[in-house]
C-alpha cells in the first residue's frame, strides 16, 4: 500500500504547469458567470483548460447557507489538461459558507481570497462558525488574502448611482478583475462581453466594467507581498487550427444539427424541461434556419411520442432528457424499436435514483440504456467522453439510427453537459455524408408491399406517409416478418425478436475496433472506462506509467453493441479495473459478455473521480 504516502506527498493535483482555481459563493453571487468569463479569458490566452461547475438544485437558496453554495472550478495550464483538477490551488470564497464547504479541498499552502465584508456575525453563524476564521488563525496552513471586496465594489460603482443591492451584484466582476490580474489575463474580452450583455442598460455595463477594473487595479497597486505576483502560464501546445470553448450541451446540439445535415434530413426535436438536459432544447430552439423544429411537449412521453411521429413522417426524430425522464420514455422507446424507426435519445445523466441529485453528475443510467425496456429491445448505446467528443458522438448516433432504422441512446452526463473545454473546430466537410433514401417503389399489380422487408444489414425500408401506392400500417403489436400484418404466431415472434436483436448486433460491423488509449495490449492491468471518467482515468494511467507501472487505458464509446475486438483485447490483460460513477454497471456488462474478471471502482458522491483516487486503486490492483 504505497498509495497513501504518495497521495499525501503530491499536493498538486496534476503535474506542474497548471493551476486550479475555484470560485465559490452564494448561488446568487454570480459564480458560474465569473467562472465562465474567466474560462473564456483563459482560453483566449492559449491555455488548455477544463472546468467543473458545481451548483445547488435550488435557484436562489437562502443566502449564506451551506447548501446554497455554488462553485466553479477551472484547471488551466501550459500542458494538456484532462480534468478540472483534483484540488484547487486558489479558492475564492465570497462568504463564510463558501469557505467552509470548500476549504477541505484546497491544497496545503494554497491561496484563499476571501471577501471579509461578507464575514458578518450573521453569515458566520449561518455557516456554523463560532469565530471568524479570517481572524482566529485557523487558516494558518494556507495563504490568506482577506479583502473587503464588498466595500471596494461599492466604492468603485458609486459614481453610477446604483442601489446597494444592485451595486453589490457587481462584486463578482471585482473578483474577476483581481483574478485576471493574478493570472495576467486580458480584460478586453470581458469588457466586450459586458457591453454586449447590457447593451440595453449601459449604466449596468459601465458599473460592472468599473468593478472589473477596480479589482484589477487593486492587484496592481496594493502591495500584496511575496507569492501574490501575477502568474503567467505559457500557452499549451496544441494542434494548429481554429479553437473555441464548448460545453457538452452545446456540442451535442451542434452535432445533432450536423448529423441531420449529413443524413440530408430535417430534424425534429421533442423535449421537456429537465436538469441538466434542458440546455440542448434551448440551443436547438434557436437554430430553425438549419431545418430544426423544436417542440416543448407536455411531458417526457409526449416529447418522445412526437419525435417518433416525426421520424415516421420522414424527419430525424430526436428527444432528450435525464434519468427520470428517460424512465418515462421507456415504453415509447420500445415502440420505436419494434416499429424500427430511427430516433436519437440523448440522456444527460444525473445522480439518481428518482429525483436524486438533479445538478450533480453520475453515470448510473447504463443499465437503463442497455437493458431498460420491456421485452427484448436492445438499442445501440453511445457514450460521450468529453464536451469536444460530444460533437462526433452525436453525428455517430444520427448515422446509426438512420442506417439501421433503430432508436439510438446517446449517453452524456451533467458534468459533460455543463463543463467547458477548448475545442478545435472541425471542418464539417471532413465528415462523410450518409444521405437517407426513402423507399418509394410501389409494388406491382397483385403484389403487396411488406414494411418489414430487409436489406443486407437487416434494416427495413423507410417510407414516408404521402408516398403513393405504399400505404401500410405499423404499430407496437407484433407483425409478420413476411407481410407486415399482425401476427402472434410463435415462430414469427421468435423470428422477429431474433432479427431485431441481430440487426442491432450488426452495428458492431459498422463501428471501429476498440483502441487502447494508453499503454499496450500486453500490460498487466487495464483500466476500462466510459463517458466523463475519461479525464481522471487518463491522467491516473499516465502517472502510473511514468512510475513504471504496467497499466493501460481503454475507453469505450460504443457501449452497445460493443466493438468486436473488445473481448479478445480484454482477455490479454491479467487484471481489469472498471472505474465508474455508479455501483458497477459497465463491469456487469463486460463480465456478462466476455466472462472476464472485471473489478469495479465505484464512486457515487455526485463529484467526478479525482486522479489520486484512481491512482490509489491502480496501486492496490497491482500490489494485490
Amino acid at each position: 500500500m504505497a498509495s497513501a504516502a504518495q497521495t499525501i506527498e503530491r499536493n498538486k493535483p496534476e503535474d506542474s504547469g497548471n493551476v486550479v482555481v475555484r470560485f465559490a459563493g452564494d448561488s446568487g453571487d454570480g459564480m458560474q458567470l465569473t467562472g465562465g468569463q474567466f474560462t473564456l479569458s483563459t482560453a483566449l490566452a492559449g491555455n488548455d483548460l477544463a472546468t467543473f461547475p458545481d451548483f445547488p438544485a435550488e435557484i436562489r437558496a437562502p443566502q449564506g447557507t451551506l447548501f446554497g453554495v455554488s462553485a466553479f472550478q477551472i484547471n488551466f495550464g501550459s500542458r494538456a489538461i484532462r480534468t478540472a483538477g483534483d484540488a484547487p490551488d486558489v479558492l475564492v470564497a465570497m462568504n463564510p459558507a463558501a469557505l467552509k464547504t470548500n476549504l477541505a479541498d484546497l491544497v496545503e499552502g494554497g491561496l484563499i481570497i476571501a471577501d471579509s465584508g461578507s464575514f458578518s456575525d450573521r453569515n458566520l453563524s449561518k455557516a456554523g462558525y463560532d469565530e471568524n476564521p479570517l481572524e482566529d488563525g485557523s487558516l494558518a496552513k494556507w495563504q490568506l488574502l482577506s479583502l473587503d471586496m464588498s466595500q471596494m465594489t461599492l466604492d468603485a460603482v458609486k459614481p453610477f448611482g446604483l442601489g446597494n443591492k444592485e451595486a453589490l451584484r457587481c462584486k463578482n466582476m471585482w473578483t474577476l478583475g483581481l483574478a485576471l490580474w493574478l493570472f495576467d489575463r486580458s480584460r478586453q474580452p470581458i469588457v466586450d462581453w459586458l457591453n454586449a450583455k447590457f447593451a440595453k442598460n449601459p449604466v449596468i455595463a459601465e458599473a460592472n466594467i468599473a468593478a472589473l477594473n477596480a479589482g484589477h487595479a487593486y492587484g496592481e497597486t496594493a502591495e500584496l507581498g511575496v507569492g501574490f505576483a501575477p502568474r503567467s502560464l505559457d500557452a499549451a501546445p496544441a494542434a494548429p487550427g481554429l479553437y473555441r470553448t464548448i460545453t457538452g450541451a452545446e456540442a451535442i446540439s451542434l452535432g445533432l444539427v450536423a448529423g441531420a445535415k449529413l443524413a440530408k434530413l430535417p430534424m425534429f426535436f421533442g423535449g421537456y424541461p429537465i436538469t441538466p438536459a434542458s440546455a440542448i432544447l434551448h440551443h436547438l430552439s434557436r437554430l430553425k434556419q438549419f431545418g430544426v423544429t423544436t417542440f416543448q411537449a407536455e411531458d417526457e412521453i409526449a416529447a418522445i411520442g412526437a419525435a417518433i411521429g416525426a421520424s415516421y413522417a420522414g424527419s430525424l426524430g430526436v428527444t432528450s432528457s435525464s434519468g427520470p425522464g428517460i424512465a418515462l420514455k421507456g415504453e415509447a422507446m420500445g415502440l420505436a424499436f419494434i416499429t424500427e424507426l430511427p430516433l436519437v435519445i440523448v440522456n444527460s445523466q444525473r445522480g439518481g435514483p428518482s429525483t436524486g441529485l438533479p445538478t450533480k453528475t453520475e453515470q448510473s443510467d447504463l443499465y437503463q440504456a442497455v437493458y431498460g425496456r420491456n421485452g427484448d429491445a436492445p438499442l445501440p448505446v453511445i457514450a460521450v467522453r468529453s464536451p469536444s467528443d460530444a460533437f462526433e458522438c452525436a453525428i455517430e448516433a444520427c448515422r446509426i439510427a438512420t442506417r439501421f432504422m433503430t432508436p439510438v441512446m446517446l449517453l452524456t452526463d451533467g458534468y459533460i453537459a455543463n463543463a467547458a473545454e477548448p475545442w478545435k473546430i472541425p471542418d464539417v466537410s471532413d465528415f462523410d455524408e450518409f444521405p437517407v433514401e426513402f423507399y418509394t417503389a410501389a409494388p406491382g399489380e397483385g403484389e403487396k408491399f411488406n414494411p418489414y422487408q430487409r436489406d443486407e444489414k437487416l434494416a427495413r425500408p423507410w417510407v414516408k406517409p404521402g408516398t403513393p401506392g405504399l400505404m401500410h400500417r405499423i404499430g407496437g403489436i407484433e407483425k409478420s416478418s413476411s407481410s407486415g400484418n399482425i401476427d402472434y404466431s410463435p415462430a414469427n415472434h421468435q423470428a422477429m425478436t431474433d432479427i431485431r436483436a441481430q440487426k442491432v448486433l450488426n452495428v458492431a460491423d459498422d463501428i471501429p475496433d476498440q483502441e487502447i488509449e494508453l499503454g499496450d495490449a500486453t500490460d498487466t492491468l487495464a483500466l476500462v472506462g466510459w463517458g466523463s471518467t475519461y479525464g481522471p482515468i487518463h491522467q491516473a494511467v499516465n502517472r502510473a506509467r511514468e512510475k513504471g507501472q504496467s497499466v493501460a487505458q481503454i475507453h469505450i464509446r460504443h457501449i452497445w453493441p460493443l466493438p468486436k475486438n473488445l473481448g479478445e483485447l480484454l482477455k490479454g490483460f491479467d487484471k481489469i479495473l472498471v472505474p465508474e460513477m455508479n455501483k458497477g454497471q459497465l463491469k456487469t456488462v463486460l463480465r456478462d459478455q466476455y466472462l472476464v474478471d472485471a473489478q469495479p471502482l465505484n464512486k457515487v458522491s455526485g463529484q467526478p473521480f479525482r486522479i489520486r483516487e484512481i491512482e490509489a486503486a491502480i496501486d492496490e490492483a497491482l500490489d494485490g
Binding site: 425534429f268 417542440f295 407536455e298 420522414g314
Partner: protein, 337 residues
C-alpha cells in the same frame, strides 16, 4: 383539415384486406363503415391520409383503413400525431381513441393536443368501459357501475368528454352515435374544420356494456331523448313540441313546451355553433331531465398549432444563412499557429 386537391375514390379504395377482429355486433363496425363511406365524399387521398391510434378496441382501427396507419401505445396517439403533423403539415391526420385511452391514461395528451389546436380529427369512441382488458369500469362509466374491478359498484364520478374538450380549449366539438346515419355528416364537418376537431361517438360494447346508451339511442324514444344541434336552427326536439331556452335567473338551459310551432314565443334558442357558452350548456345538460345534445355543438376555428410552428420556423429562418461551418465557429475563437 388543410387544403387539398380532391382525389376520386370509392368505398373499396379505403378497405384493407385485413380481417376485422372486433366482436360481432360491436358498434366499431358501424363507425368504420361510416368513415370509409365518408372518405370518398371528402375527396381524400389514401396516400396522404394517416390514421393514428393508441391502445384499446377502438385503436385497432388503422389496420382496417387502406391508408398510412400507426397503432401506437396506450394514450399516446396525440403525441405521435403531433410529430407527424409538424414534420409534414400536408398530411391529413386522424386520431382514433377511446374513453380509457384518451381520457384516462392519455388524458394529458388529449388536453394538450386540443389546447394547441393541432389540425387533425379526433374520434373518441366512448363505450364507458375497458373492453380489451375484459370489462373494467372507465373514466366515463357512471357512478355505481359494476365491473370486475368494482364488484360493489364504482364510487367515482365520470368525466364528460365534451366538457373536458371544451375546457381544454377545443374549437370543434361534436357528438355522434355509432349506428346513426348522421355520423358521416359529422365527420364531414369535422374534416372541414381547420384545427383539432373532437368527436365523441357513443359506441355500444355488446359484450361488457351492452345498451348502456339505450336511454337515448333507442329509435323509438329518440324524438324525446335526442336534440340535434344544427347551426342557425332552433334547438327543438320531440317533433318540434319541445325546445331548449335560457333560464335567465340561473344561466342554465331549460326545457320549454312549444305550442303551435311557435318556438320563438316559447323562447327557444337558435343554435349558434360559434357560441362557446352555449356549447358548454349543451354538453353539460344532465340526461333524463334533458335530452342528449348531438351533432356539431361547437365550431369556431382558430389559428392552428402546425401553421403557427411553420410560420415561426419560416420567420426565424428568413435572411439567415444555414452555414454549419459558421455555426460551429461562433463565439470567441482563437487560432493556434
Amino acid at each position: 383539415m388543410n387544403d387539398m386537391t380532391p382525389v376520386e375514390t370509392t368505398l373499396k379504395d379505403w378497405e384493407t384486406d385485413q380481417e376485422v377482429r372486433w366482436c360481432p355486433g360491436c358498434g366499431d363496425y358501424a363507425i368504420l363503415k361510416a368513415v370509409q363511406r365518408t372518405m370518398p365524399d371528402l375527396g381524400a387521398d389514401p396516400a396522404n391520409t394517416v390514421f393514428i391510434s393508441g391502445i384499446g378496441c377502438s385503436s385497432r382501427f388503422p389496420y382496417y383503413m387502406e391508408t398510412y396507419g400507426f397503432h401506437t401505445i396506450h394514450g399516446r396517439a396525440p403525441t405521435v400525431a403531433t410529430g407527424v403533423k409538424l414534420a409534414n403539415p400536408d398530411l391529413d391526420v386522424w386520431i382514433v381513441t377511446g374513453d380509457g385511452d384518451g381520457l384516462s391514461i392519455g388524458g394529458n395528451h388529449t388536453m394538450h393536443v386540443l389546447r394547441r389546436n393541432l389540425d387533425c380529427q379526433i374520434l373518441l369512441f366512448n363505450n364507458e368501459i375497458y373492453g380489451l382488458t375484459k370489462g373494467q369500469y372507465s373514466p366515463t362509466s357512471r357512478s355505481g357501475t359494476r365491473s370486475p374491478s368494482t364488484p360493489f359498484g364504482s364510487v367515482d364520478r365520470p368525466i364528460s368528454p365534451c366538457a373536458f374538450a371544451l375546457g381544454s380549449g377545443a374549437r370543434f366539438i361534436a357528438r355522434g352515435i355509432d349506428v346513426h346515419k348522421n355520423l358521416g355528416n359529422t365527420f364531414k364537418e369535422a374534416h372541414a374544420h381547420r384545427g383539432a376537431s373532437f368527436i365523441e361517438i357513443f359506441q355500444n360494447c355488446i359484450v361488457y356494456n351492452e345498451d348502456v346508451f339505450e336511454d337515448f339511442v333507442n329509435k323509438k324514444t329518440a324524438p324525446e331523448t335526442q336534440v340535434w344541434a344544427v347551426h342557425g336552427e332552433p334547438l327543438l326536439f320531440a317533433n318540434g313540441e319541445k325546445g331548449l331556452a335560457l333560464d335567465a335567473d340561473t344561466l342554465e338551459l331549460k326545457v320549454v313546451k312549444v305550442i303551435d310551432r311557435d318556438w320563438q314565443g316559447a323562447g327557444v334558442m337558435i343554435h349558434d355553433q360559434t357560441n362557446r357558452s352555449l356549447a358548454m350548456l349543451l354538453v353539460q345538460m344532465p340526461f333524463g331531465e334533458f335530452p342528449m345534445a348531438l351533432g356539431t355543438l361547437y365550431n369556431d376555428p382558430a389559428p392552428t398549432f402546425d401553421a403557427a410552428v411553420m410560420a415561426q420556423n419560416a420567420a426565424a429562418s428568413e435572411g439567415k444563412d444555414a452555414n454549419l461551418q459558421a455555426l460551429i465557429s461562433q463565439g470567441q475563437t482563437w487560432t493556434v499557429e
